[in-house]
């Protein structure tokens, strides 16, 4: 098993204690949703898995995130190498202002797989992202000419192209229309088969639809972490109940 084990994780932004003593285990090959009110630390938590907090000068991370016997938060872990194993998709679709093809090829060549049959990799990745049929004849067009939903799927294709083990998604559908959202959700459903997915979402129904496990964070603390069915049907914690029934506040 290569679950990801989070132990006593604490994050500070300057004096702000953003995450407090988080302990949980992200199961391999499943979709884990992180829910919670704005500012509860979900995104911060997500960014711990690929060390994106390193880019924020004032952020300080303590505790450990163990994966395959390595502490991802350890001094000896190279964040750049880590990010090649742990892909990330952001809230706002952010394809590079390059062609569709180059968007995917970029990450692949960064990872030193430039010698492989790039055309094949691009095709496979786009197919995995359910985008191939739509962009097959537009590979040399600027990615920014795609629709928002297509851009986001391109970002997912870009992430899977480098064959990561884990894919982090930070509110991947929150900027999209319902149809695009549906496509993204379907896609996550399919990704589950090959990847460990951790997804932050504001949309409870979405979390309920797509995830196997759900963690509820509140003010930097892990309130409840359980099977998604359990969380949305009958949460243990009143705080979670209040949050998911919309009676938070």
């Amino acid at each position: 098993m290569s679950n990801i084990t989070v132990e006593d994780l604490n994050v500070w932004y300057g004096d702000d204690h953003a995450l407090k003593n988080i302990n949980m285990e992200i199961p391999e090959g499943e979709v884990t949703a992180l829910i919670g009110a704005s500012g509860c630390g979900k995104s911060t938590f997500l960014r711990c898995f690929n060390r994106m907090n390193d880019e924020i000068g004032v952020a300080r991370v303590e505790g450990s995130i163990r994966w395959k016997g390595v502490d991802l938060n350890g001094e000896d872990v190279d964040p750049v190498a880590l990010r090649r194993r742990v892909g990330m998709v952001f809230q706002k679709p952010n394809p590079f202002p390059k062609t569709v093809y180059d968007n995917i090829a970029y990450g692949v060549s960064l990872n030193g797989r430039g010698d492989d049959d790039m055309d094949q990799i691009v095709e496979t990745s786009l197919e995995q992202a359910n985008l191939w049929d739509e962009v097959e004849d537009r590979l040399d067009k600027n990615a920014l000419t795609l629709s928002g939903g297509q851009q986001q799927r391109l970002c997912i294709a870009r992430a899977v192209a480098v064959k990561p083990d884990v894919i982090l998604m930070d509110e991947p559908a929150s900027a999209l229309d319902p149809v695009s959202t549906q496509k993204i959700e379907n896609l996550i459903e399919e990704l589950r088969e090959e990847y460990t997915v951790v997804v932050v979402t504001h949309n409870m129904q979405q979390a309920a639809r797509i995830s196997d496990k759900t963690a509820h964070l509140h003010l930097g603390e892990l309130v409840e972490f359980d099977n998604t069915d359990k969380i949305f049907e009958n949460p243990e914690e009143e705080l979670t109940e209040a949050y998911i029934t919309g009676r938070f506040g």
Binding site: M204, Q205, F232, E233, N234, P235, I244, T245, G246, R247
Partner: protein, 218 residues
């Protein structure tokens, strides 16, 4: 509380369920009463109410589905609406058994009852108590007294078989009134079904309140 409108709508839904339950309870009790009194007028009153019962059933189902669509309920809210949808089915049945009993009243040819209605009054009392308990729990969102309920249910079941055997005996002794004894057996069967529906309601209310599924095995 951040969802005032939703909370009010949930309250309204529950009130409707309670209204329907009260109606069904009245139909059941009044149906039985009409039989006891052999009063066709009372029976007609009950028969008349079945339209209202069906109306409420439809109304509540529609409102509950609207709430699901518009509010995407989660957790307790979701369970409450799910429970309401199931409860109305059981309530409907109970009401309709009341109606069925009233119908028997209208078809009763003799002027009198036989054998003091065997054990039927005792069964009515048990169903009545169970139903009241379950409805109070629903209203108060409290958990059911399961032990008590199972006791009732067991007794109802036992009584039903006792009515069955008794009536068989009477039928042999008094073949002239075989039809009336058959009616008694049917009514006993109805009452037993009512008790069973009360148990089903109890299961749903327990799920609504506690969030866990439960099967009352009898």
């Amino acid at each position: 509380m951040a969802r005032d409108t939703f909370d009010k709508q949930l309250g309204d839904l529950k009130a409707q369920v309670m209204e329907m339950a009260d109606l069904a309870k009245w139909m059941f009790e009044t149906g039985v009463q009409s039989l006891i009194d052999l009063s066709d007028d009372t029976a007609d009153e009950v028969l008349e109410k079945r339209h209202r019962l069906a109306e409420l059933d439809e109304q509540i189902e529609e409102d509950a589905l609207k709430l699901v669509a518009r509010q995407q309920p989660m957790a307790k809210d979701m369970r409450a609406i799910g429970a309401a949808l199931k409860l109305i089915t059981y309530i409907n049945r109970i009401g309709r058994y009341g109606k069925d009993i009233a119908q028997i009243t209208t078809q009763w040819d003799s002027e009198t009852h036989y054998s003091d209605l065997v054990n039927l009054p005792r069964m009515v009392e048990l169903v009545h108590n169970g139903l009241n308990h379950v409805l109070r729990c629903y209203h108060e969102e409290e958990d059911i007294d399961l032990e008590q309920l199972v006791e009732w249910e067991d007794e109802i079941d036992a009584l039903r078989w006792s009515v069955f055997r008794e009536c068989l005996t009477y039928m042999a002794q008094d073949p002239e009134h075989i039809e009336e004894y058959a009616y008694y057996m049917m009514i006993a069967r109805y009452l037993e079904r009512c008790g069973d529906n009360v148990c089903k309601m109890a299961e749903k209310i327990h799920y609504m309140v506690e969030g866990e599924h439960l099967a009352i095995d009898t």
